[in-house]
Symmetry: C2
C-alpha cells in the first residue's frame, strides 16, 4: 500500500454504507408469500431471500461470482502460550493454502468460490508465494505486539489494515457478487475473545474458548491473559479503532475492512466463524449499518461466538460443530445463499403455475 | 410394473443390506485425525466423512452423480379435512415439477442433482406427463383409502409400492452415486404422523403437526383423525409391512423402497423431511441395517420429526425451519455431503503438507 493515497478511505467507505432497501424487501416478501408452497415453508431460506433483495436492490440477486478472502497474520500474544500450536504454523498453513491442501481449498470448491489468501502480517518470509501470484501481500509487519503487555498496534496501523481490507473489496468488486471472510493466525482466538468481551461487556472467562483445542488448565491461563489484556489496555467499546488497535490483530482488521468494503458496494458478505465475527464486531462499531450486509455462516463450537452473534442480531445458517476458520464456514454457507436467490428468481407463484391456494 | 416378476424382490433386497464397513471407517478416521487442522475441527462434516467411507468402502467416496427422487401420491384421508389445501393440488404440483416451477426444481440445481418425479398414485390423469417423459409412472391407483375408516391399502399393495421404489433405485443405480428422497401428496403428514406414533409409541397428539399450516382447531381435529386411524387399524410396529399397509401411503412406501434399494447398493441416501422420515421408519422396520445408509437432511419444523430422527439415531445436518418436503431438504444437504467427501479425498495431512503438529 506504500505510496498510495489512502487518506480518508475509511471515512469515505463508512459514509457510503446505508441500510438495506426496505422497498425491495417488501417487494420480495410479496412474491415469496405467493410461491407455490405453504406459507413461508422454506423458513430461513425465505428470510435470507428477503435480505438478499434488500441488500442487492434486486429480485434476481446476483450471487454467482463468489470469493473467499482468507486473511493471515501472526500475534505477539502467542508468546504467552495461549495456543497448542507453534507460531510457525501460520506461515506453514499459508503455504498449504497456496498448494491447495487445506480445508478451505476443498470447501471453496463446494461453495464454487475463488480463494484469495492475503498476508496481513505473517511471521516469516512469504515473498516467494507473493511473487508466484499465489497470495496477496498487505503486510503490516511480522505480527502484532503482545496484547498482554500493551496495545497490539498503533491506531494509525489499525486504520491501515482496515483500509487494506476495503481496497481488496474494491479491487475484487467488479468481478464478485458474494464475498466470504476467512482467517488464519496462530493465537488469534485470544484477541478475538478480547474483542468479544469488550463489546458484550462480559468478563474474559465467559467468552474465551479452547481455540485449536487446549486443555482445561491452558484454557484458564488463556482466559487470564485475555483479562490481563483488557485490564491493561482498556479498549473503548464506543471506538472501533481503539478496540482494534489495543486488542485486535492485523487479519481481524483486514476482515473488518473487507466487510465494510462489501457493505459500501451493497453486496452480501458471509461472515465465517469466531475470528471473522470479531472482525464483524469491529466493522459494526465503525459503521453499524454494515450489519445489514453480513450473513452469519455458522455457529462455531468456540465459546463466546453465540454472544457475539446475538450482539450483531445474527442467526447463523449452519451449526455443525465447526471450529476451523480459514473461511470454511463461509464456503459451506454459499450454496444456501444460492438457494435463497434461486427461490426468489426461479420459483413460480400460485397464479403463474395455476396451482390452487389454501382455503381461507 | 405389470408383467414383471417381482416375487421376492423385497426379501432379496433386505437380505443384501449389511452394516457399514467398520474397517473403512477406521481407515478414514485415521486419515481425518491427521488432516492439517486442529483435531476434528470440521466437526459434523468429519463424522459424515467417516460415514461415507463406511457406506461406500472407499477413501474417495463418490458423490458426484446425484438424484432426487420425488414420489407423489394422494391420500383418502384428505377427505377428513386434515389439510388446508384441496386434494387437486397434488396433481397440480406434479405439473409444476414437470414445468420446473417448484421449490425442488430450484433447489435441485443447488444440489447439482437430477430430479426424477414418480407418480405413485396421484388422483387425476398424469399420463400426458408420462408420455412426454417428464415423470415416471408407478401408479398403484388413484390414492390410498381413508385410514380413518380402514387400512390405507392391502398388504400386497404395500409390497408392490416398496418394490417399485427398490426397482427405481436399481434402474437409476448405474448412473447415481448419491440418492435423495422427496414427497408430494396433500394430506400426507397425516399418515406420516400415524407412522411416527406407531414406532415411537407416543399418542397422536404428540407427533401430529400443522403440515401445510393448519390452525389450532384443525390441528386438534387432525390429531384426533390420526388417533382414530391408529385405534381402528392397530398397526403392528414389529411388522413394517403392516404399518405401511394400514396407515401409510403409496409415496411413503415408494420412499421406503428407494431407501432399501440404495442401501442394498451400498450408496448413501439423504432422507428429506417429515414424510421421507416416515418412509425411513418403514425401511428401518423391514431392514434395520438400512439406517446405516441414511443421512438425515434437516430437522423439519413439523412436530414429531425430532422423535422420529431420535428413534433412527440420526442427527440432521440442517435446521432451517423447512417444512416443504418435495426433496428440498435433501437437495440442500447435498453440498454438505460433497464437502465431507472432499475432506477425505483432497485435504493434506500434517506430514504431506509439512505442517507442525500440536505440542503433546
Amino acid at each position: 500500500m506504500k505510496g498510495r493515497n489512502t487518506v480518508g478511505l475509511l471515512e469515505t467507505t463508512t459514509a457510503q454504507i446505508v441500510p438495506q432497501d426496505a422497498s425491495w424487501r417488501t417487494t420480495a416478501r410479496g412474491r415469496l408469500e405467493q410461491l407455490t408452497m405453504p406459507y413461508w415453508a422454506l423458513g430461513r431460506l425465505m428470510d435470507l431471500a428477503e435480505d438478499l433483495a434488500g441488500i442487492t436492490r434486486s429480485m434476481q440477486p446476483p450471487v454467482t461470482r463468489r470469493v473467499i478472502v482468507t486473511m493471515a497474520s501472526d500475534h505477539g500474544v502467542a508468546a504467552e502460550g495461549v495456543s497448542q500450536y507453534p507460531q510457525e504454523v501460520t506461515a506453514q498453513m499459508v503455504h498449504n493454502f497456496a498448494q491447495g491442501g487445506a480445508g478451505i481449498n476443498a470447501l471453496a470448491q463446494v461453495g464454487r468460490a475463488r480463494l484469495v489468501v492475503v498476508d496481513m502480517g505473517v511471521l516469516g518470509d512469504l515473498s516467494p508465494l507473493v511473487r508466484a501470484g499465489k497470495i496477496l501481500s498487505r503486510r503490516m509487519g511480522p505480527g502484532t505486539r503482545n496484547i498482554a503487555h500493551g496495545p497490539a498496534m498503533e491506531r494509525e496501523e489499525a486504520v491501515r489494515c482496515l483500509e487494506a481490507g476495503i481496497m481488496i473489496a474494491q479491487e475484487l468488486g467488479p468481478s464478485v457478487d458474494l464475498f466470504g471472510t476467512g482467517d488464519m493466525g496462530i493465537g488469534n482466538t485470544t484477541p478475538s475473545s478480547a474483542i468479544a468481551a469488550v463489546f458484550s461487556g462480559r468478563p474474559a472467562i465467559e467468552v474465551t474458548g479452547r481455540g485449536t483445542g487446549i486443555d482445561e488448565a491452558r484454557l484458564g491461563w488463556k482466559s487470564s491473559i485475555v483479562q490481563q489484556a483488557l485490564d491493561l489496555n482498556r479498549p473503548d467499546p464506543a471506538d472501533g479503532l481503539d478496540v482494534l488497535a489495543k486488542v485486535g490483530g492485523f487479519e481481524i482488521g483486514g476482515i473488518a475492512g473487507l466487510i465494510l468494503g462489501a457493505a459500501a458496494q451493497r453486496k452480501p458478505v458471509i461472515v465465517d466463524g469466531f475470528i471473522s465475527t470479531a472482525g464483524a464486531l469491529i466493522a459494526h462499531a465503525l459503521a453499524p449499518g454494515a450489519a445489514d450486509y453480513m450473513i452469519a455462516a455458522h455457529r462455531s463450537a468456540e465459546r463466546g461466538h453465540r454472544l457475539m452473534l446475538d450482539y450483531l442480531g445474527k442467526h447463523p445458517l449452519l451449526d455443525l460443530d465447526l471450529r476451523l476458520g480459514e473461511g470454511t464456514g463461509a464456503a459451506l454457507a454459499m450454496p444456501l445463499i444460492e438457494a435463497a436467490a434461486r427461490l426468489l428468481s426461479e420459483v413460480s407463484t400460485f397464479a403463474e403455475a395455476a396451482v390452487s391456494e389454501a382455503a381461507p
